[in-house]
Structure formats: C-alpha cells, structure tokens
Symmetry: C2
Subunit: 237 residues, 2 copies
C-alpha cells in the first residue's frame, strides 16, 4: 500500500484545473478525485472523513484498521488534514460512535412505535436490537463491547445516548406494568436493564463467535426474546 502516491497525483490535477485521467483505484487508494474545499466549506471534509471512517469500520470489521493514515488515504487527503477537523484519533472514533448511536436509537424507536401492545413491542425492540448488531457488527462492537478507557470514570457522550435509548425501553416497561401485562411489583428500571442485558448477550455472542455451532441464529434470537418476555410477564391466572 504505497502511501501518498494518490495524494501526489491529486495535487497535480488541482493545479491543471481539469479532471485528470482516473487513477487505478486499488485497495484503499483515494476513491475519487478530490477538489480542495471552497473557502468556509472546510467542514465538508469533516463530514467526508466521518463517513469514510464509519464505512471503514463497517467494511474492515476491525477498529484497528481504521487508522488515521488509512482514513486519510481513502478520503484522498494527507494524514495531517485529519487533524484540522478532529483533535486526535480517539475524537474521530468517538464522533463515529455518536453517529452510530443515533442510527441505533432511531431503529429502536421505530420498532417500538410500530407494535401493538407492550409485550409485542418488547419483542419487536429486541429483534431490532439484535438485527442492528448483526448488520453492523463492528459498530456494535465499538459501541458496546469496547474495552473501557481506564482514564474515564464517567459515561461518555455516546453512552449518555444509550441512556436516552434506555429511557424508551423503561417507558415501554412502565406501560406494560400499567396494563397488567408485565410483573408490576419489580422496579421498571431494573426490569429494563435486565432485558437489555439479555438482548445484548445474544447480540454480543453472535458478533464475537459467528462460527460457533449455534444452529439457526433466528431461532436462538427468538428463544432469548421469548425467555425474556416470559420472565417479565405477570403470572397468568
């Protein structure tokens, strides 16, 4: 991966002012010819960096492969340009993470709304949760399975988003308790956390051990969801 060769070609093209012959696009070489942003439009590059970092996280399936250099090369700029828009590598990945949480939250919210009845809503939310994890395993990994930063003793911005998402779940549980479908004597927050744990469990194991002899993934997911729903339901008369 000959770093920088693409960037050099691009510079020449900008000087000539017209589109150069398309360079062979191998591996992570710049995906298209960039033009320097208009004045005041520096943040265009910021968005592009963010999009590329997110795509690389999804494609490579490996947080470590998302290096400053690799992102820069794929965007078609030099590594120092990244630092014009993000303080350091961690800030870049944190920004990706915040976007992932937004997408995740949106998915969960629409699943909750589309369902009739609180128990069915719980099932739908569970399914959407695991689906998201399986569609974007490396995003999910970064959001929920990453090693905690020992320097940070408080929830990050992204984690506070999680809490926001959890608020939806708690609300759902309370609604279920109000209608009598869900065991009313336990704390709604505690029930919600327990549901989250179980759902995370199946998502995380499928992400971490895709080659394990699970049998049918779908059946496993449904089994976990049913166990949860039974586990939090009121005793039927």
């Amino acid at each position: 991966m000959r770093s920088g060769s693409g960037a050099r070609k691009r510079t020449v093209s900008t000087a000539s002012g017209e589109t150069p012959p398309v360079a062979p696009n191998e591996g992570f070489a710049p995906s298209r010819t960039r033009h320097r942003a208009q004045r005041g439009q520096g943040q265009v590059l910021r968005d592009e960096i963010l999009a590329v970092a997110a795509a690389m996280l999804a494609d490579t399936g490996n947080e470590e492969a998302v290096s400053i250099r690799a992102v820069a090369e794929r965007v078609g700029v030099t590594p120092p340009s990244i630092y014009l828009h993000f303080a350091d590598k961690e800030a870049l990945l944190e920004a990706v993470c915040v976007e992932s949480f937004a997408a995740f939250d949106e998915r969960i919210a629409s699943a909750a709304q589309a369902s009739a009845g609180p128990l069915e809503a719980l099932r739908a939310v569970g399914r959407s949760y695991v689906e998201f994890a399986l569609e974007r395993p490396e995003h999910y990994r970064y959001m929920f399975m990453r090693r905690p930063d020992p320097e940070v003793n408080a929830p990050s911005a992204a984690e506070l988003e999680t809490i926001g998402g959890l608020a939806r779940l708690i609300e759902l549980v309370r609604k279920g308790q109000a209608t009598g479908a869900i065991e009313p004597r336990r704390d709604a927050v505690e029930i919600s956390y327990a549901l989250w744990c179980a759902t995370h469990g199946v998502a995380a194991l499928l992400v971490a051990k895709p080659y394990f002899p699970w049998g049918d993934h779908h059946a496993l997911i449904e089994a976990v969801i049913e166990m949860c729903v039974r586990g939090v339901s009121s005793d039927m008369p």
Copy 2:
C-alpha cells in the same frame, strides 16, 4: 522502560554462579533472578511464560499490553526465548485462553454440584459465571468478547472447551425438565443457549461498561438470573 537491561545483569550473575544483589524491580522489570533451566527442563520456562502472560492479561487489563517483548522482560528472558516454546504470539495467547477455560469450567462445575434442585443450580451457575467474568475481566474478554479471526471458520480448541462447559448446562436443563421444574416442551439445547446468552449479557456489559450507572451490580445480576429462571420455568398451576 529500558528493555534488556535486566537480562544483561542476569547473564553476569549466571556466570559468577552465585546470587547477585537484587536489581530494583520497577514496572515490568524481571520479577526475580532466573537461572537457565536444567538440561531437559526447558519446559519449566514454558510454564513460567504462560503464567506471566496470564498474570499480565489480568493485571494490565489489556490484551495489547501482553506483547512478546513485555512478557519476555517480565519473565527475565529475551524475546527470542519465547519462540523456543510458542510458535508465535497467537499461540501463546491461545494457550492462556485454554487455561482460562479450564479454570472457568471448574468453577461452573462446582457451583452446579453444590446446589439442591435444578432451578437453584441454574441460579448458582449463573452467579458463578458472572463472578468469574468480574474477577478476571480481561480473561473473560479474551475468551468471549474477542474479535473473531476471519481466517478461522471453525471453533478453536478453547471454544470446544466452551462446548464442553455447555454440556453441563444442557444436562442441568434436562434434569430440570425431568423433574417438571423447567418447561418441557422446548428443546433443552435451545434453552441452554438462551440462558448462556442472557448470562453472558450481564457479564459482558459489566465488563465493557463498568462505569455505567448500573446502580447495584449485585441486584442487576440477580434480576437477570430471576428473569431467566422465570422465563424457563414451567407454568405453575
């Protein structure tokens, strides 16, 4: 961290044939004076490397910090010595992982045996499972949360150990079904996998997000376990 200085001192001491003044033991400097192994006792070093690698995984809480160089330095040998006993870094970590699984399995087995009744046994197993994860989070992470190696499409030796451990759980579930305590119409394997998922979920979230505002960890663990037990129990008359 001046690599190698300890090793040099050690060589001198071996030549002199008597214990040298103890070198200041700062950071990961060699923890004690080593003597070259007796003839035919080369595997003594192998065990020591394994123990140190396991300890470093536990201490540093970071798989990446367990580098060949760091392990060698802490053992008190030079990096190439590692290769006399392990093919490469991955083989070393895999060996650590196999040992972790053995300890884990032993813990689970004794929890299962010490309990009266299948449902109480399920609870005990769940508690032991999470306890192990919280005691040795980085071991747990390496065992169950590591990124899958894309080159490996089959379960590793360590993962086959997991299957062995699961066999115990499946047996427990079958026993519960036989006594009528556990829902008999569902497949015992499916129930076991679902229980594993949920238990993994609480362990993994506590490992990955220790600073999250969980409230009381113990209460959370019990809530998940109770939800599971309710979820797999027979409907009571």
